[in-house]
Each structure stands twice: as C-alpha cells, then as structure tokens.
Symmetry: C2
Subunit: 281 residues, 2 copies
Amino acid sequence: MKKLKRSSRLVEMTQYLLFRPHRLIPLTTFAERYSSAKSSISEDLAIIKEVFETEGLGDLQTLAGAAGGVKFIPRIPKHSSLEIVRGICKQLEQRERVLPGGYLYMTDILGQPFIINEIGKMFATHFAGRDIDVVMTVETKGIPLAYATASFLNLPVVIVRRDNKVTEGSAVSINYVSGSSKRIQTMSLARRALKEESKVLIIDDFMRAGGTVHGMMNLLQEFKATVKGVGVFVESGEVNQEEHLVEDYISLAKLTGVDEKTKHITVSPGNFFEEEDLEDN
Amino acid sequence: MKKLKRSSRLVEMTQYLLFRPHRLIPLTTFAERYSSAKSSISEDLAIIKEVFETEGLGDLQTLAGAAGGVKFIPRIPKHSSLEIVRGICKQLEQRERVLPGGYLYMTDILGQPFIINEIGKMFATHFAGRDIDVVMTVETKGIPLAYATASFLNLPVVIVRRDNKVTEGSAVSINYVSGSSKRIQTMSLARRALKEESKVLIIDDFMRAGGTVHGMMNLLQEFKATVKGVGVFVESGEVNQEEHLVEDYISLAKLTGVDEKTKHITVSPGNFFEEEDLEDN
C-alpha cells in the first residue's frame, strides 16, 4: 500500500479497528500496511484511543512486547445504555402493543437493526471479560440479538432449533416446558454445531420463568458445555421469584404489567442497571 | 462538545458515518458537534471520502444546498466480493459437509458474524439504488443475512414465520410447496408487521427451485406489496431452468453438485458475478 498521510491513516485505522473487535492486531500489520514507522503508528493509536474513550465507543488495549499489538474492545457506557433502554421502554409502553391474551407486541422493535446493534453492544460490554467460545440462542426472535452480540465479541453463533431439520445432520433433542405456553416443547441442536466442552453465552429476547433458557442449559449438558452467562432483552416481572428456573442472568428491560382491559403497560429498565452504581464513567 | 483537533475529528467523523449508512447527515450537525467551520468539515469529509473509496468501503455522497449534507453508501467492490465468495466456495466444498440425503451442511459458515456481514455488504451494494422500504426473510437461517443487509441499507427487517405465533397478533397465512421437501408447508406474517404497499427486498440463505421465495411473493400480494429484489446466498444449480419458480434474483454462490457416495461437492460463484464485467473498479 502506498504511504498515507497521518490524516488518511487515521481514517483508515479507525475503520480497520471498528470492524475487527476483540482481535489482537500486531503493530507491524499497520506499519507494513502504511509503510510507516511503528512510532508513528503508536501516536495514531493514542489519538484514536482518546476519541474512542471520550465518545464511549470502547477501549483500545495495547499489549507491549513481541507478541503485542492493539485490540479494540467495544464498550458502551452504562449511562448511554440506560438512556437507550429508557427510550425503548417508552416505546414498549404504547397501548396498541397489547395483544389478546395479554401478550406484548415487540416484533417491530426487534426488526430495527440499529436498536439490535445497540442491544448487542450492551451485552458485549457486560460479557466482554468472560472466557466465551460461542453465543447461543433459540430460534426465532433472539437470533438478531445473538448475532449482534457475537459480532461485537468476535465470536460464532449457534442456533438451537425448535424442530429437527434433516439438513443439519444428527442432532440432540430435549423436551422442555415453556413458561408462557405451559406446553411441552422440543428443542434440538445438531451434533456438529457445537464442540464438546464449549463455553457458552446464552442470549434471548424474552424470559418469563426461564423455561426456554433452562431448556437450553439442559441441552448444553449433553454437549458437556459450560454456561458462562445469560442475557435477555426483556424479562417478565410478573413471575414470582420462586417460580424462576434461572437464577443468574441479566435483563435489559423488565415488563412489570400488561393490563388487557385498560391496555396499560409498564416496562422499566432491567436488572442490568440495578447491580452496580452508574458512576462507571 | 469541546473543540477537537482535525486528527481527532477525523476519527470521530469516520465512526459516526460508518455506523449511520444511508442517512443524510447535514454538515451543520458536524459543525455544531465539533464547533468547527463548515469549510473545515468539508475538508475533513474530502479526506474521509478518498480513504473510503481507495479502501473499497463505499461512497460519501455530498448533497449541496440548504437540505444538503453527506451520506455514506457502503459499497464493496466486485473483485473483493469475488475473492471472499471464492474463499467461501472452497470451504463449502469440504467433503465432510455432505449430509445423508445429499444435503450440504453450511450452518457453521452462517454462524460466523464476520462472513455474514460481508455477505450483507454484497447484497447492500447490489440493491442500494432501488427504492426499498423493508428487508424480508423467512425463518431461520436467512435471518442473520437479512439483518446484515438491512443494517448496511438502514432499513427494518420483517421475518415470515413458519408457524403462527399467538404473540404476533392476527396474521396472514399461505400454503406453499417447498422445493426440497416437496411437502406442503405454511408460512405466515402478522398483519401489523408490514404496511400495505411496502417495497420489499427478499433475502434468503438457500434456493432450489424457489418454492419458498415464491411463497413469500404470494404472501406479499396479500399485503399489496411490491418485490424490489431477491437475493440468495447459495442457489442450487441442480434444478432445470424450467423448474425455476423465481426468475429475477441474484445468488452469491451456486451449488452445482453433491455426490453422496464420493462426497464430492462443487460450488462456484453465483450469477451475481456473471452479469457485468468485473472492471467496476
């Protein structure tokens, strides 16, 4: 590549890093790419690092030494997350979302890639420090959330199916009771979809008592896998604590009430915003 | 926001534009954001524009006048797409992918967000000029491709379901014959999921004769919607031209043979790479 001026190099390096989160990029990669001295590259990175931090985009971690380099860790500040989630809660409280049976219509919100990416960034921020091999979800509505999260963590995605497709090869199936329907349902995962002893992050769009997530956990035992975390977009607050099948999870929003008659809905930020104080930046 | 130096401003503007494709951003937005003169902003944009074009990231379109501004149009050059697709074809030809029944296992490839994003960029490049309101797919494996495409086009996604979920409200259902199973299947879409007379881009992971895509087209008639394009990741070349139910589509790869006995698989770049010459940059 031809030698670039600092200004062009900064644009180039910014996009290069943004599209390669959680990957160690040796300084020599940049030095060779731009025919520049490593010292110039280091100065560029210092500028990028400062903007990324100020803007709440994430950290640039620099590792010194022969095996060193730079790694972009996407990170959205808690106060920005809270602002976004408050906006989503407001949308979710619109009266016309009440469906027969007291269900809440949220498919349109999950159909907006911009929102999905922000949610993915929140999960990626929270679970960044854990040693995870793969992000898992069950079809259908959790899929975009799982991909967005995995994209920011630079991890692959595994989708648990509700049927057993012939195009997936041999599979492990389990039965579970879904909290919302109280019916016995089946979920299955192809043998070759997940290596044994994988470390797994479970992501889903909605959780009541946790029957589906619990089902995924049982399925994972068949693969000798370890669950490293559970993240759900919306949890139902209408379930008693004793009914909960899953203990350790984070939720971004909490649905505390849907009144089918008055069409009054109450949604508030989830337990993700409870634990710590919001002073983290 | 405090006044930034040009170097920091370039990093900031680069990330701002990359995360907001196909959105018109008035120059005043940047001028106010950085307390800078519009002339400085224009100079910055010229630098960013040049790097984006040289790097094959896309175009920065500048619209003059009071309602003017700048718009980032993600665009991956055809030769880069071809290189990526050739790599994917090579992976798809691995012998161990042959499943009983002559099916091809490709779930692992569709589980990699980095690949999904590149495929989404290809579809977004091809369909960028068309007047589209929404990207549509049918569950399950097309979903990440649809979201990636929609993300680069700044459009919402609508997912057609294979069942009729109570949590979606009233829905329109149709029956169709899937090419691969030759069975009658059902697909449905919630009434409130799609406005009437929408202009729709259909994205899917695999197409044989096109029964599923054709089903989606029939379903769309019920919504008085117009199909503005069809993009599939892999098409089967084992179908006679006369059997094709869908005429106008683009495919990124073409599966021309799976031999269950010898485990020999042949995959080549799809019709996306046939039409035009590759001299486009």
